[in-house]
């Protein structure tokens, strides 16, 4: 197992030391790289943090399991993509270069002003730990029910499946109650 696949393995379990080292190691390089674009310094730091978040997220989803490039190339490609989106938002015209051929998923979810979403976030945090973990693995880390069965030590896939249904049911009930009482 080489160093980078070891790092990826640790990123998958949100090892804070690893994330910290990665964050520090590439920060100034990224800032210099971003300097080429007409973008504010604060925005660069924000984008860098988002890129690290996206990197960790993709690692969890298993997108880095067969990574062909270096982690740095991968991270900078995400960053470049995010810089471009930012510049597009600000209607700034620049010459767009091709983004290195890396596979990553990043759906920009605007998180403010969506009441339904905020309500769900609040209700989710009231769920029991087991449910939170299961739903997080399924929806966020995009693990298949087979994997989750193993990870959370369920007897078999059906148990995992019915557990998931129960969690969703509880979540809906909690949501309805919150709306009624709120």
């Amino acid at each position: 197992m080489n160093d980078e696949s070891q790092i990826i393995r640790l990123l998958k379990v949100s090892d804070e030391k690893t994330i910290h080292k990665l964050y520090v190691d590439y920060k100034s390089g990224f800032q210099m790289f971003a300097n080429k674009y007409p973008i504010a310094k604060d925005a660069v730091l924000d984008i860098y943090q988002d890129a690290i978040v996206a990197l960790c997220e993709n690692a969890k989803k298993g997108k880095l399991d067969t990574l062909k490039s270096s982690l740095k190339t991968y991270l900078f490609a995400i960053g470049k993509y995010m810089i471009y989106s930012q510049l597009k938002k600000e209607n700034k015209t620049i010459t767009y270069e091709n983004i290195e051929d890396v596979q990553f998923e990043w759906e920009d979810i605007p998180d403010d002003g969506n009441e339904q979403l905020n309500l769900l976030r609040a209700v989710f945090s009231k769920l029991g730990g087991q449910c939170q973990q299961l739903l997080k693995l399924f929806y966020y880390e995009e693990k298949k029910l087979d994997e989750i069965t193993l990870l959370l030590n369920y007897e078999n896939k059906d148990v995992a499946k019915s557990q998931k249904s129960r969690c969703l049911k509880t979540l809906k009930e909690l949501t309805i109650n919150t709306i009624k009482n709120g």
Binding site: Q49, I52, V53, F124, S165
Partner: protein, 234 residues
């Protein structure tokens, strides 16, 4: 395949082509099904935002940690300065300060009576030095006396330069001049007196007392003040 399994496979990205077709057909025809999919999508978004938010807080924390470290350095440095200053102030016996203030007085200009005629250009350095001295512009006075020393090596220039230095808190340099110059009888005792005061200010109590004793032995300048000061120091 039941609807629940279809939705599950949709989120697992494992729908086959046929299943995908049924999935989309149901989205259109079955409101309950469409609602369930929408709900789970929304849940996925909510969890995603929550997780991103948590991780981003951690990253912001890294920045704050770094700033804290810098702040810590500043704080440590400030404390060190504070300790040093307090230590110095503590060792600076307050009565020393008072005594110095009581006894120190610049020696009057008895060398060059200043006649102000407004003709500055014709003034020589000696006059300029004493004008500065009398107008308490001691740092310029010291500079002018330096020039006079270079030109004439005059004893009075050394003496008044040293007094000027005392007035601008350069007690070490002043003491050096008082100590090392080969004073004639006219200046010997005066130099001892000012040396004693410089040593007092520098908190060199032993040297201060030694100078005072020498001065008292000579007995020809500020005898009473010297005795008085020596008494207060003992």
């Amino acid at each position: 395949m039941d609807k629940e399994a279809l939705i599950q496979k949709y989120f697992e990205h494992t729908l086959s082509k046929d299943e995908m077709a049924s999935f989309h057909a149901l989205l259109v025809s079955d409101a309950e099904f469409a609602n369930e999919v929408a709900f789970q999508k929304q849940l996925k978004n909510a969890i995603t935002i929550e997780e991103r938010h948590k991780l981003k807080e951690t990253l912001r924390g890294f920045e704050a940690q770094k700033n804290d470290r810098i702040k810590w350095w500043y704080a440590a440095a400030s404390i060190l300065v504070l300790i040093t200053v307090s230590f110095w102030l503590y060792n600076q016996n307050p009565s020393t300060e008072k005594l110095y203030a009581t006894y120190f007085e610049s020696y009057p200009n008895v060398i060059e009576p200043i006649v102000r005629n407004g003709n500055n250009q014709l003034m020589n350095t000696k006059t300029k030095a004493f004008i500065a001295y009398e107008s308490k512009d001691y740092s310029n006075a010291a500079k002018f006396f330096d020039v006079v020393i270079d030109e004439t090596n005059a004893e009075y220039a050394q003496f008044y330069k040293a007094i000027s230095l005392m007035n601008i808190d350069q007690y070490h340099d002043a003491a050096d001049i008082f100590k090392t110059s080969d004073w004639s009888e006219a200046y010997k005792s005066k130099a001892l007196w000012y040396l004693a005061l410089s040593e007092l200010k520098l908190n060199h109590m032993d040297q201060c007392k030694a100078s005072l004793k020498q001065l008292i032995m000579a007995g020809n300048f500020n005898l009473n003040e010297a005795k008085e000061l020596l008494e207060k120091l003992d």
